[in-house]
């Protein structure tokens, strides 16, 4: 199967690219082909330390590692994270920026992020259809679109379901199971999948309820490229239609 992926992102107002805490994979736009394609998007939690890096590790581990079940992906990421954390204090010392008292507790508490992983699998040879499956922890959302219609919205399907404390994947295994949700369906050639972090996803679902076609508006904004997309997001924020948060849209067109 073949798909084209393109990603657009923007940090919250007043923040630079280094402060952007969403993460997505693959990082490079373009065509992908293979019997099974994976895409992922995660949103690092504002209140935890190193959460952008943790989000990045999660999406890379899902897309680039062996095609494991999500539990294995998350535990594998924790294993890598904990090893990296052992050498982190020395790295900071070497960089002339030793760890401060206020970071010690944050590092011990772990990093946190939402996670959304999507897998598209080929159908039979020559077939125009195949299967998709998705796993999610938290409020990073997947929208499945076909010919201008919204077929699926996962894991949230109402704007009112977003909260300030969504389920998160912790870098620490704290005994509580990950609150993983799963969904699956079929794709047809020409379908589009949009993955979005919470501010954009909420705007999208609010628009859908209001009877607008937010996917058309979003598709135009995405197709216009980074600068017009940023302008479009700024406008939504200034009109208070969209929360001022990191925004990421990953669009996957099935070819």
């Amino acid at each position: 199967m073949r798909a084209r992926v393109s990603s657009l992102w923007l940090p919250r107002t007043g923040c630079g690219p280094a402060e952007y805490q969403d993460a997505f994979c693959p990082r490079v736009d373009g065509e992908r082909s293979g019997p099974r394609l994976r895409f992922a998007l995660a949103d690092g939690a504002t209140e935890s330390l190193l959460s952008g890096r943790w989000a990045d590790l999660l999406v890379r581990n899902y897309c680039r590692g062996p095609a494991r079940q999500v539990a294995g992906v998350l535990d594998g990421a924790r294993e890598i994270w904990n090893r990296q954390l052992l050498t982190y204090p020395q790295q900071r010392e070497d960089a002339g920026r030793p760890i401060q008292w206020f970071e010690e507790r944050g590092l011990a508490r772990g990093a946190h992020a939402t996670f959304l992983g999507v897998q598209l699998s080929s159908g039979r040879a020559g077939s125009r259809r195949g299967a998709w499956s998705a796993v999610a922890i938290g409020d990073t959302c997947l929208f499945h679109l076909r010919q201008g219609r919204l077929l699926a919205s996962f894991p949230l399907d109402e704007a009112g379901l977003f909260s300030s404390s969504p389920p998160l994947v912790s870098s620490r295994r704290n005994g509580a199971p990950d609150r993983t949700e799963a969904a699956r369906g079929d794709w047809l050639k020409g379908d589009t999948f949009v993955m979005a972090t919470d501010a954009l996803a909420r705007w999208f679902l609010q628009g859908a309820v209001a009877g607008r076609s937010p996917w058309s508006e979003l598709a135009s904004a995405v197709a216009a490229g980074p600068a017009p997309f940023a302008e479009w997001v700024h406008e939504r924020r200034s009109l208070r239609e969209m929360a001022d948060d990191d925004v990421t849209a990953v669009t996957v067109d099935v070819l």
């Binding site: 919250r12 107002t13 007043g14 280094a18 402060e19 504002t46 209140e47 330390l49 190193l50 539990a71 294995g72 535990d75 594998g76 924790r78 294993e79 904990n82 090893r83 954390l85 052992l86 401060q100 008292w101 206020f102 970071e103 010690e104 507790r105 944050g106 590092l107 011990a108 772990g110 300030s164 620490r172 295994r173 704290n174 005994g175 929360a243 001022d244 948060d245």
Partner: protein, 296 residues
């Protein structure tokens, strides 16, 4: 809707703590696990609160100035209560608070039930769990900015006037901020006149996101049950309690939601007021009374 403004470095808000440092604060507080003076319990709660706020606002590049903080003591005198490098400073950006504790005490954290839950399987239950455990058990440095003090009278009116001046000046520069929150912790009646008019002046200050919030906590040494966040029609025991109640703002909905999460059932119209507070209700008061939404 009020109390929904996003808090960011571009649009920060402020907390002003007023701490009674009168002589009677050297009396023991009720409800402490080990005997403790009221002044000690308050100092521990304020230091703990500031420490937690710094941790929550910490990023790889340092502590972000989502908040500015003032701690004003009132007893023998009225003035800023920070010690060390921040001595004499009224309102301080959080990054500067984080950078200049008076001292750091090294403590080994209390072990927590952690990573290797019984029956845990997979990588995280093995070596990774041990590694994470080792990280969690590293000694941590605990900051102290504010020392317990108990000497003199209770000039609450002057302390509230100080808070009023700080907040008014803040709002002139930050008119769109999440409304500043003033938290007054006392164990007795004002000795410099009626504090109600200046309390009312504070509550009349507004940002574009709503009126400034003033919350009051009364500390007790007796064993009476604390009265936490009472509603309008609640029958309070005496005039002093009714005075402090009348000086306290209603809790916004998001703070009541937070209180519900902590197992408190608060009625509509509940005020940010605690009477006969013991050691644990000081911590709870700070926790609920400084709750904000939308920190970006």
């Amino acid at each position: 809707m009020s109390y929904t403004a996003e808090i960011s470095r571009a649009n920060p808000t402020c907390f002003v703590f007023l701490i009674d440092q009168s002589l009677s604060m050297s009396d023991p507080i009720g409800g402490a696990a080990v005997p403790m003076r009221k002044a000690d319990a308050v100092a521990e709660a304020i230091n703990g609160f500031l420490s937690e706020l710094c941790v929550k606002c910490a990023k790889e590049d340092g502590v972000r100035d989502y908040f500015h903080v003032a701690v004003i003591g009132y007893g023998a005198e009225v003035g800023p209560a920070f010690r060390g490098g921040l001595a004499g400073r009224w309102l301080v950006p959080l990054s500067e608070v984080a950078a200049a504790p008076y001292r750091l005490e090294e403590r080994v954290p209390v072990p927590v039930a952690t990573m290797t839950a019984p029956g845990a399987t997979g990588l995280a239950g093995g070596l990774s769990g041990q590694v994470a455990q080792a990280i969690a058990e590293r000694p941590v440095r605990v900051p102290v900015w504010f020392e317990p003090t108990a000497f003199g009278d209770t000039p609450m009116r002057a302390a509230l006037a100080g808070a009023h001046a700080i907040v008014r000046e803040w709002l002139a520069v930050h008119p769109g901020c999440f409304p500043p929150i003033v938290l007054n912790i006392t164990d007795g009646e004002s000795t410099d006149g009626d504090p109600a008019p200046i309390a009312s002046d504070i509550q009349e200050l507004v940002s574009a996101d709503g009126p400034v919030l003033l919350f009051n906590l009364h500390l007790s040494e007796d064993r009476s049950d604390p009265i936490a966040f009472p509603p309008e029609q609640f029958r309070l025991p005496d005039d002093f309690a009714r005075k402090l109640f009348s000086m306290s703002s209603r809790l916004p909905e998001h703070m009541r939601a937070m209180a519900r999460q902590q197992g408190l059932t608060l009625e509509q119209g509940a005020r940010g007021f605690v009477f006969n507070a013991d050691a644990s209700s000081v911590v709870q008061f700070l926790d609920i009374g400084t709750q904000v939404l939308n920190v970006r």
